[in-house]
Symmetry: C2
Subunit: 249 residues, 2 copies
Amino acid sequence: MHTKTSSHPLDSLVQKLQQWRPLAAHEQDAVLALPYKLKELQAGEYIVRDGDRVTHSCLLLSGFAFRQKLVGDGGRSISAIHMRGDIVDLQNSLLGVADHSVQTLTACTMAFIPRDAVKELAFGVPNVGMAMWYDTLVDGSVFREWIANNARRGASSRIAHLLCEFGVRLEAAGLGEKLNYELPMTQEQLADCTGLTSVHVNRSLKSLEANGDITRSKRAVAIANWAKISRTADFGDAYLHLPASATSS
Amino acid sequence: MHTKTSSHPLDSLVQKLQQWRPLAAHEQDAVLALPYKLKELQAGEYIVRDGDRVTHSCLLLSGFAFRQKLVGDGGRSISAIHMRGDIVDLQNSLLGVADHSVQTLTACTMAFIPRDAVKELAFGVPNVGMAMWYDTLVDGSVFREWIANNARRGASSRIAHLLCEFGVRLEAAGLGEKLNYELPMTQEQLADCTGLTSVHVNRSLKSLEANGDITRSKRAVAIANWAKISRTADFGDAYLHLPASATSS
DNA sequence: CGCCGGTTTGAGTCCATTCAAGAGGAGTGG
DNA sequence: CCACTCCTCTTGAATGGACTCAAACCGGCG
């Protein structure tokens, strides 16, 4: 499988793409040969702003980030959360002009890659291109689930669903345990993910706690019983299209 | 620009892809050379069911279709509406196993294309592949807008937004006028698009009518004043990433 | 110590839902 | 041609879930 001793910054990109399809040694090398510039960002900084003309894709090497959109009356909608290995801005960079903003949730280190280099790689090494395309399709699948989640589930289920998703993805990315992790966002941000108010998020969180679905202390979340919370969240991980492994119990 | 006298069934695919990037004559021919099987479907038929193993992508040649997802308590969420020229199932077919269902809204004629042929074309003719990728990215952009719409706008705005989007897309696809068209769905389906109840959709529709945003008779919708409805809908068409043309007034 | 962002809690309101029933059409079969 | 059914649309009344407004609490940090 061609394991490197290394810790090349783009390793986590290779790892991510391999999640979608196996890459041969020379294909991995082609990915690692991508030109990039590293950048450290603080919590709350913008990576891309809605309306920007975008020329670089960026890869999240550490930390958490999210996509957001503002509506007319000032309300905010968060449409995705990203973590290590995620290619945060294929969307905006390939489309040219950003239709939404991307912002860091915590301090992040990112690799900026010129979008033409991404395009060349994608079509020069079809297998890599396929993996990248696959990645954007999975993003789409998650969007659809979020639409359903926000549209047709009650407040507590929505939050529980988000907590389940976060746990599963965290574990899949090798960043923590799905039953026990630190949630890197405020209740207001949680509200913007779920189309609720921060006040109501707070109440829903407490009700989940009261029902024995979770326990919390500060931002740490512990899930007592996966089967139980999956039920209240109406959660199934199929939409994440993870390779066969750490599937739910 | 290589115009054909023809009416090859896949012409509308070429047309759609050209919306995203210009294709040279031989590239157009490569698209038209795709193997396909035509199929006529009645209103309400399933094209793909959630959980299916999918082997063909399908192209909508006439009629309307939508993507849907069921949640635990039986609720339904519609995440996209499709019309002529749309490649309805790149998503599911490339991912392999469907994470949602696709169903016809009206009678449709569709072209089924083996997914391997799609892959080969995409990577054999990079420019076409890029256009297809672009297409899936635009789908993603629309998903994000729907998340924001369902999450952060009131009922009437949501409906108005959907009406605006439909009009713009219809016109962009050359299927009608954005200010005056036949809506091919029931109020219950409208409700499933917006996360509301059919009852409330009805009331919202009447309130839009009362405010002078629209007039209706049966399923026909007429928009009196684009600027006005854009305001109540908080609609801007940037997220559709249409080529510079028929932009809003 | 005092400020500040985030969390928690309460009380009252409102938007959207539920439940229920009736009206309008389109299609079917007697 | 009418009776009958099914589906969609419409309307009313009552309920309830989520929101708004507002205040207090808490921990971290300068």
